[in-house]
């Protein structure tokens, strides 16, 4: 079947940005004239996105393309007895079917350890594990072909209980064993018994990133199969390139990866999903292959947030000063390793929260089960730790007769304090200020007697009686590491070219919605005094930028762009100095001019760079970190950010329904580089944390996802979102190239425990597990 109309060629969303901008158009809001750092610059891809012109990876279309689709295991654990493809090959329109035997290179992949098969060949270890792929002329043909593949399985008893995975007698479900990582932290006096001791066991369900733009890619084979171009929505094109090349047995430079438009990520695009399959089908058929997951398939096709069970005991003085923490943390990694080892380290090293603590005994386990694989999601192990430590802080407060605010202020950490890993906090650490500024935000007005029924809990269901509605208030405060940890050098690269007053920036930084495409031109304008900035396509024709994760791109890729622009500025000053016989050290950029600090000389950057061409590439590396030793000691993290949240909720105690009324927050951001982008990160993160608190959970039944759809996996809508009142605390971070900390993850971390605490406050219930369901409240 042929398409009658070509929708899109391989458009790659190159954006050109200049600074005429909205102040002149709307006449409002703007005081800063140019879109430099600190200005509310607008996204250069905004106009295309609102008109439906922006090419997401799922929008790409090519002549003679075929559709690819994946056959997945229906069993959580089974041995593959046989695979019969013959009936599927007989279907008209099917061009290729591939299985494990068609993988020419490495048969497995993985971000940390390479333990996940491209296709299962002997055992399937989770429901949804890929077994085969087809290429055909139409998505419907693909569906029929998948249905015609006959796989005979010998079904085995799955291991779905993470606690059972810890037991030595439990049979191994993978040659690498069932323990993905064990790490302890032993610090300080192990004998301390506090005057006050509080303990509990907390649990978190499995959360999905639920980006809207489903996994999608298009692969274009070189003639003769010597290489392949892949256009894909991903978070880290160089890591994809490396892993794909190994599986295809091609040199790395023969796998050229270009970023397609990305419809959100939140961690779910860091691992390989359809990358290798799509390239294999393209090479096999010598035709372009388009692959796109369905929503149900997406639930099976990417990693999720780890479910966790955390036992924790706090020892404190009668005054509420924390002396020692004991904890056992178990993270369910699912069938394959992904980033579980790193998620675990984040969990255990953040279990003290943003509070001083001199002694700790922590045992962390990330285990393998036959549940869906878990890996990166916004907050990366710290979300789990924070729910536990913040729930404990409220217990401590009650035991000591203190308010939730007072117990947190008494223990708040500061710059120079030592973590339980022995690492000294060198980052700006305005924990106390985060708490005080959040506390100063006015509370919402009480629920009016004559409130619009639509505004009550239950909304348009009109289910709630006002007398059953109880209001509660709760707190959450968190610490989050920025960048990768434990010796990982996740550097970023950028190239800057200046000619005729125009800057071209090239980097491999994945724009997933966070707004690096607006920040990068702001940096260039600030450093170089230009207005027009062109962003070149994001592809593997430049060095790595690392992953768009770990709240790291503003710091890392921002640092790389800043560095490249500064090198160009040096060249520009030398060029101007030589022509006009001025010491280049006397030159500075003022607005869009180059001026002599001492004399009268002034020339516009446009004039100075006309006819010249400057070209510099810069790699930004963060300071080195260390691996943890046997006792969990070491400078394993680069830097930290902090945030406080206060939640106000209305609870219908009869029906167990919750409505979040207001979230107040003060976040340590270092420096606000773009207030529009910053508030967008804060509000978006809060929505995801709210989801985890009261509605979002992948429900598993013997390894099978019971709710793999947006009908059954509930996401916050406009009606679920409260008013968000945010204060951005600006205390520039000396280590950060632009003074700014990453702001992506902190908003979603402590808002979850804050909402849980508010529901506890309203109901008097213990509620040790999130998401909190109606039955947890009213039964």
């Amino acid at each position: 079947m042929k398409n009658t109309v070509s929708t899109n060629t391989v458009s790659i969303n190159t954006v050109s940005t200049s600074t005429v901008s909205t102040d002149t158009i709307t006449g409002t809001r703007r005081e800063v004239r140019r879109d430099i750092l600190g200005a509310p610059a607008l996204r250069p891809d905004g106009a295309d996105k609102v008109q439906g012109k922006f090419a997401f990876s799922s929008d790409i279309w090519a002549e003679h393309m075929l559709w690819g689709a994946t056959l997945r295991s229906p069993h959580p654990y089974a041995r593959i007895v046989s695979i019969d493809l013959s009936a599927a090959f007989d279907i008209d329109g099917v061009e290729a079917i591939i299985t494990a035997v068609d993988v020419p290179g490495k048969k497995t992949y993985g971000l940390i350890s390479s333990d996940q098969p491209v296709f299962a060949s002997d055992f399937v270890r989770y429901v949804g594990e890929p077994v085969a792929c087809v290429a055909a002329d139409h998505p419907e043909t693909c569906r029929r072909a998948l249905a015609a593949i006959n796989v005979i399985y010998e079904v085995l008893t799955p291991l779905t209980d993470p606690e059972r995975a810890l037991l030595p007698e439990t049979p191994k479900i993978h040659p690498d064993g069932n323990m993905l990582r064990y790490q302890k932290i032993i610090c300080g006096d192990q004998t301390i018994q506090g005057e006050i001791i509080v303990e509990n066991t907390y649990e978190l369900g499995m959360q999905d990133q639920a980006f809207l733009g489903l996994e999608a890619a298009m692969a274009f084979p070189d003639s003769g199969g010597a290489g392949v171009d892949l256009v894909i929505a991903t978070q880290w094109i160089h890591e994809d390139q490396k892993q794909i090349a190994a599986c295809l047995d091609l040199p790395v430079d023969k796998v050229r990866v270009t970023l397609g438009g990305v419809g959100g990520a939140f961690g779910a695009r860091e691992d390989i999903s359809l990358q290798v399959h799509c390239c294999l089908l393209a090479l096999k058929t010598s035709r372009p292959i388009k692959m796109q997951y369905s929503r149900e398939e997406s639930f099976y096709g990417h990693v999720h947030r780890h479910p966790a069970k955390i036992w924790i005991r706090h020892h404190a003085t009668n005054e509420g000063i924390i002396q020692r923490i004991e904890s056992k943390m178990v993270f369910d990694g699912g069938a394959y390793a992904s980033t579980s080892a790193a998620v675990l380290i984040n969990g255990i090293t953040h279990i003290q929260g943003p509070y001083k603590c001199e002694s700790a005994t922590v045992h962390g386990f990330a285990v393998r089960t036959n549940n869906p694989p878990c890996g990166a999601m916004r907050g990366f192990g710290v979300v789990q730790a924070c729910f536990a430590h913040e729930s404990q802080m409220d217990k401590l407060a009650v035991a000591c007769g203190l308010s939730p605010v007072e117990i947190r202020l008494r223990n708040a950490m500061r710059t120079g304090d030592k973590l339980i890993t022995g690492q000294v906090i060198e980052s700006v650490a305005p924990v106390e200020r985060c708490i005080r500024e959040t506390d100063a935000i006015p509370m919402p007005v009480p629920l009016a007697r004559d409130a619009n029924p639509l505004e009550l809990v239950g909304g348009s269901g009109l289910t709630s009686l006002p007398q059953n509605i109880v209001r509660g208030v709760g707190w959450g405060v968190s610490i989050k590491n920025l960048m990768y940890s434990e010796k990982f050098d996740d550097y970023a690269t950028a190239r800057c070219q200046l000619h005729d007053g125009i800057v071209n920036l090239k980097f491999a930084t994945a724009e997933v919605g966070q707004g690096f495409v607006v920040l990068a031109p702001q940096i260039a304008r600030s450093v170089l005094g230009v207005d027009e900035v062109i962003l070149d396509p994001v592809d593997t024709r430049i060095g790595s930028a690392g992953s768009t994760s770990a709240s790291r791109q503003t710091w890392m890729s921002g640092g790389a762009v800043d560095g490249a622009c500064r090198l160009v500025r040096e060249q520009l000053f030398e060029h101007v100095g030589k022509i006009h016989n001025i010491d280049p050290l006397r030159l500075v950029i003022e607005d869009t001019d180059i001026v002599d600090m001492i004399g009268d000389f002034r020339i516009s950057v446009i004039d100075a760079s006309t006819g010249a061409h400057f070209d510099q590439t810069f790699e930004h590396h963060h300071r080195p970190t260390e691996e943890l030793d046997e006792n969990g000691q070491g400078n394993c993290h680069v830097a930290f950010a902090f945030v406080a949240h206060r939640a106000v909720v209305d609870v219908d105690v009869e029906l167990g329904l919750v409505k979040v009324i207001q979230i107040a927050t003060a976040q340590d951001v270092g420096r606000v580089l773009n207030p529009i982008a910053a508030i967008g990160q804060v509000e978006g993160g809060i929505a995801q944390g709210l989801g985890l608190a009261v509605m979002e959970e992948i429900v598993l039944d013997n390894g099978k996802i019971r709710n793999p759809s947006f009908t059954d996996y509930l996401l916050p809508t406009t009606l679920d979102m409260p008013d968000v009142i945010a204060v951005l605390i600006e205390e520039p971070e000396p280590q950060a190239p632009l003074g700014a900390k990453g702001i992506g993850e902190p908003p979603c971390i402590s808002v979850t425990p804050a909402i849980a605490a508010a529901i506890r406050n309203a109901t008097g219930r213990d509620l040790p597990r999130v998401p909190i369901r109606p039955q947890d409240i009213c039964l």
Partner: protein, 163 residues
């Protein structure tokens, strides 16, 4: 695939578009995106929950993933591509860009269509009306705060222009 041999016609953005050689089971979303060169409507849930595929059919906002394309003959369909004239952004589109309502942008075309539909039928919506009207459009990036601002701002601009 054995295609259907019949040809059918859809009226999209004021133009008559012929759909040939199509499998009769295709959704309106698929036909718009893959056959008519209009990828603005997005597929994200495929069951009418997220609103990313919203288009207007005879003045009603519908999820095009739930409409069989072949049943949409004799209706007037407008998509996000049909909103702006000569590349000039509409008031709603302009407000979305200026207020920071766009991040990844995947939900944006559906939201822009839904908000046009809201303001065309209810030019001065209250906050709760706005929330209700776009509660069928899921956004995973923004937390909706800037989207509310964009809708409020577009409604205000429209009021101002219509004075």
């Amino acid at each position: 695939m054995t295609p259907n041999t019949e040809v059918y016609q859809l009226n999209v953005n004021g133009k008559k578009c012929e759909v040939r050689d199509a499998w009769i089971g295709e959704s309106l979303l698929y036909v718009l995106r893959e056959r008519l060169g209009l990828p603005g409507a997005k597929g994200a849930c495929e069951q009418g929950e997220c609103g990313s595929c919203t288009v207007i059919m005879d003045d009603q906002a519908v999820c095009s993933c739930l409409v069989m394309a072949a049943t949409a003959i004799d209706t007037e369909i407008s998509t996000v591509e049909g909103l702006s004239v000569d590349g000039k952004l509409t008031d709603v589109q302009d407000a979305f860009v200026n207020e920071g309502a766009v991040q990844c942008g995947f939900c944006t075309p559906g939201l822009v269509v839904a908000v046009h539909n809201l303001l065309d039928t209810s030019p001065t919506p209250t906050d709760i009306e706005i929330k209700e009207a776009i509660s069928g459009n899921i956004c995973r990036c923004t937390g909706y705060g800037r989207i509310f601002e964009a809708v409020r701002s577009a409604a205000a601009t429209r009021q101002e222009t219509n004075k």
